[in-house]
């Protein structure tokens, strides 16, 4: 019985090697830096990773589907700009704190709509998602600049940034939001018909079609989810700053994809999990935070992050290796 459990644990770890890595760096930073092992710091890490984390949740669905979304960084900027700008429109000046509501709806709505647009293009034209969203990554950033006229926006109402800094009990609200979202998406992916179909469509699209799953609309839904999540991340990020800048979210797509892949989701689709993605997000967050606390010079941070990314891939390969008998192709 004990060995059975051990085996299950071992299997779990080989399927989620990233958690081994998370534990490793957690222990490393705890031992090597006095400020790291601290409840407040853990909360910081959660808040800091929540932006990338929220997007990564949505990206996991899209990538399990066998697609990818490179436009999320630009969507973050657009949603943040809408969120901060609209709440200060004169039309809503009499609404008190409720002026945030139309802004929130607009931000999330636009993010979801852009996701739908990406999805519909992928569906109808059959152009690869990488290309469609590579275009959108440029185009949506263009939209941001058209909308903002290159300006940053600032929320006059400090309630907005207070929300970003607020806590639920002892835990920061954004951390709570991120954790709730993680649980919800995990349930969506592992328990619902849509979630299971996500694996089916990514694992074997033809089989999914043959089984009568409407692959096109299904993919659109997932693109809408990632768009929504990116917009939500834009909102939470802008609430941390009480402001929005048109350059927000540059390179986020790369970090998000990195986190998702670290978490074990295959770029070819069909495999992956939210538990893994959560681990991937934490790994990046802990590394960044730990290196900040240890004052690793900025130039070396880049080299270390890049090397670790590759090292984790190598580790993953080693864990799934078949041994001497393997076919040499």
């Amino acid at each position: 019985m004990a060995t059975l459990k051990q085996n299950a644990a071992l299997r779990w770890l080989t399927e989620n090697p990233i958690w081994g890595f998370v534990v490793l760096i957690f222990v490393f930073f705890s031992l090597s830096n006095e400020f790291f092992f601290d409840m407040n710091n853990f909360q910081n890490i959660l808040v800091q990773t929540s932006t990338i984390g929220l997007i990564a949740l949505g990206m996991t669905l899209v990538m399990i589907n066998g697609n990818i979304d490179l436009s999320v960084g630009a969507v973050v900027a657009l949603a943040a700009s809408l969120m901060v700008d609209i709440q200060s429109w004169d039309a809503f000046s009499g609404w008190g704190n409720w002026q945030m509501l139309p802004a929130l709806i607009a931000a999330l709505g636009v993010g979801t709509a852009l996701g739908a647009l990406n999805g519909i293009i992928v569906w109808k034209t059959g152009v690869d998602a990488f290309i469609v969203t590579l275009g959108a990554m440029l185009g949506v950033r263009g939209l941001v600049f058209v909308y903002t006229k290159e300006q940053s926006f600032f929320a006059m109402n400090f309630t907005f940034s207070d929300l970003g800094m607020s806590t639920v009990g002892p835990v920061p609200s954004l951390a709570v939001l991120f954790l709730i979202a993680t649980v919800l998406v995990h349930i969506l992916l592992s328990r619902t018909v849509h979630g299971r179909n996500t694996y089916a469509v990514g694992g074997n699209r033809e089989a999914a079609v043959n089984a009568g799953i409407r692959v096109g609309p299904h993919m659109v839904v997932n693109f809408m989810i990632v768009g929504f999540m990116a917009a939500l991340a834009g909102v939470t990020l802008s609430s941390q700053m009480g402001a929005a800048t048109p350059n927000l979210g540059r390179d986020y797509e790369l970090w998000v994809i990195t986190a998702v892949v670290l978490g074990g989701t295959k770029l070819t689709g069909g495999a992956g999990s939210i538990i893994g993605t959560f681990g991937g997000v934490l790994a990046i967050g802990i590394l960044r935070n730990g290196m900040n606390l240890m004052q690793v010079p900025a130039f070396y941070v880049l080299v270390i992050l890049g090397s670790i990314l590759i090292a984790v891939l190598i580790l993953d390969k080693q864990l799934t290796r078949k041994g001497v008998e393997a076919l040499k192709t």
Binding site: H194, R196, Y199, G203, N204, A211
Partner: protein, 505 residues
């Protein structure tokens, strides 16, 4: 044969289906009665799968009617067809690796609650019930990627039992089943028949057709050639309907006297895949390897071709011990391997026929730094004529050819290397009788020209027909080697089930 009601379970009338540039079905009629097994035959590319896809709502016909139990119906999509009681078991495995058996069986129609949550208990209970009926010794929660190919095929078949079907179509279900599973499958089919279900059974294996079916229909080049009662016809007549001529079944009498030993293997092992394998192949001799799927034959071939590193044992070529470091090395030592899966291992589907054929020797076909166009075309033309490859031109992408012609390209590619030892792995999987005969003849001819040939096959008639000697394998070990004339069906079946001659009663 059971008695049937008057209205057939299914009637197809005048079905026409065109693809850009291809008239795949040209006014096909088919009638399947309730409670009969109706075999559908035809050459590769005759349109069998296409007809069934039209029936299952995956393609919309350009013309024609589908009549189900007397009512004309339209199949808008696969779900629709399934809802109306038509189930298609696909030719190619159509499963999602990452999902469980249950999720695959109920793919596209997972039982769920109001909120879209999967109803796991119902799902697992129903699936387990079906699996029990199929005698499967794995359960609904198993991940499909953990199953062998044969078991995956059983999952595919389990899908037929999820609904109360009126018509079930099996498109080449036995291509990768072991004999034990075939028996279960045939029992399932007989059970369905007894319950009054109309069954369409597609296969290229005549023995199955004649032991299983009640009636059979033949397609040729997309048109309907007629229907026969199985008991009232024979292989020869059916073959003539399919390919327009009879096959000459001359048993391999023209064996030449085997020459020197070309390849010798002593105590070869590769981890758990196969152990202590020894055999020899002489020039002018065809050695057949027979066994169940998973017996380790492919792995031996791959090891000889340098794709796997042996953990023990030696390989001798022309009496000289060699270490084969990789395919390139193997090729330079005169070994050729026609691999098991032509799509994954044999061909670059997007490349032209010629480029595929010359790929292994492209480095030698140069004038100066450039590939010599003339030399390449010469090679292609030579093997096109020799193997009767049907392709509009050498520029045609290989992916557009029919399965049999694709297989011939792969064989041509390796013959063009003028090997000393030729290994062919499942050379006729999914290939129609006509092309199969051609390939068998070819293998014999090659041997008579002095090649040493190894044929790996899971079809007993093929092995018996084409080989001089047969080596039977079971679970990674050589059980017995049969010389010319020694081999009988019975002893072969015993051997591949792991019963050694000395221990056999």
């Amino acid at each position: 044969m059971t008695e049937h009601s008057e209205t057939p379970a299914l009637r197809l009338e005048g079905i026409v289906k065109t693809f850009p540039g291809v008239r795949a079905l040209d006014g096909v009629d088919l009638e399947v009665r309730a409670g009969e097994v109706h075999a559908l035959l035809g050459e590769n590319g005759a349109g069998k799968s296409t007809l069934m896809k039209v029936l299952a709502g995956m393609h919309q016909p350009n013309e024609g009617r589908i009549i189900l139990e007397g009512r004309e119906v339209r199949m808008a999509n696969p779900m629709d067809a399934k809802a109306q009681g038509v189930v298609l078991i696909h030719q190619e495995l159509s499963l999602c690796d990452g999902l469980s058996v249950a999720e695959n069986v109920y793919l596209g129609e997972l039982p769920h609650t109001k909120w879209g949550f999967v109803d796991w208990s119902t799902l697992h209970a129903r699936t387990d019930e079906i699996l029990k009926k199929l005698n499967c010794n794995f359960d609904a929660r198993t991940r499909v990627s953990d199953l062998s190919i044969a078991r995956q095929q059983m999952v595919e078949i389990a899908r037929a039992l999820t609904v109360d079907a009126k018509v079930v179509v099996f498109d080449e279900p036995t291509a990768s089943l072991t004999d034990a599973e075939k028996v279960v499958l045939f029992d399932v089919i007989k059970d369905l028949r007894a319950r009054g279900v109309g069954i369409v059974y597609i296969s290229h294996r005549m023995d199955e057709i004649f032991s299983l079916s009640d009636r059979l229909s033949v397609l040729r080049d997309g048109s309907y050639r007629g229907t026969k009662v199985t008991a009232e016809t024979d292989e020869d007549e059916v073959t003539r309907m399919m390919i327009g001529r009879s096959l000459t079944h001359e048993k391999n009498t023209d064996t030449v006297e085997p020459g020197a030993v070309a390849l010798e293997v002593r105590g070869l092992s590769c981890g758990k895949l196969f152990r202590d394998v020894s055999f020899e192949v002489r020039r002018g001799e065809v050695v057949g390897f027979y066994g169940l799927v998973g017996a380790g034959r492919t792995e031996i071939a791959e090891t000889l071709f340098g794709l796997r590193t042996p953990t023990a044992g030696t390989i001798l070529l022309d009496g000289e011990e060699v270490r084969i470091s990789g395919p390139l090395d193997a090729i330079s030592r005169g070994i050729s391997l026609v691999p098991e899966s032509r799509k994954e291992q044999g061909l670059v589907l997007g490349m032209s026929c010629r480029d595929n054929m010359t790929l292994p020797q492209i480095g030698d076909l140069t004038t100066g730094p450039f590939v010599s166009n003339g030399a390449e075309i010469a090679i292609y033309d030579q093997y096109r004529d020799r193997l009767d490859i049907r392709s509009p031109s050498w520029r045609q992408a290989v992916g557009n050819l029919s399965g049999g012609n694709q297989q011939k390209i792969v064989i041509g590619k390796w013959l063009a290397m003028k090997p000393q030892v030729l290994i062919v792995d499942e050379p006729t999987r999914g290939i129609d009788v006509g092309a199969k005969g051609e390939i068998h003849k070819l293998i014999r001819t090659l041997a008579s020209q002095g090649y040493a040939v190894i044929v790996i096959s899971s079809e007993m008639p093929e092995v018996l027909h084409v080989s001089d000697r047969v080596i039977a394998m079971y679970s990674g070990e050589v059980i017995r080697s049969f010389g010319v004339g020694e081999v009988t069906e019975d002893s072969l079946v015993q051997a591949i089930s792991g019963i050694r001659p000395d221990r056999a009663a």
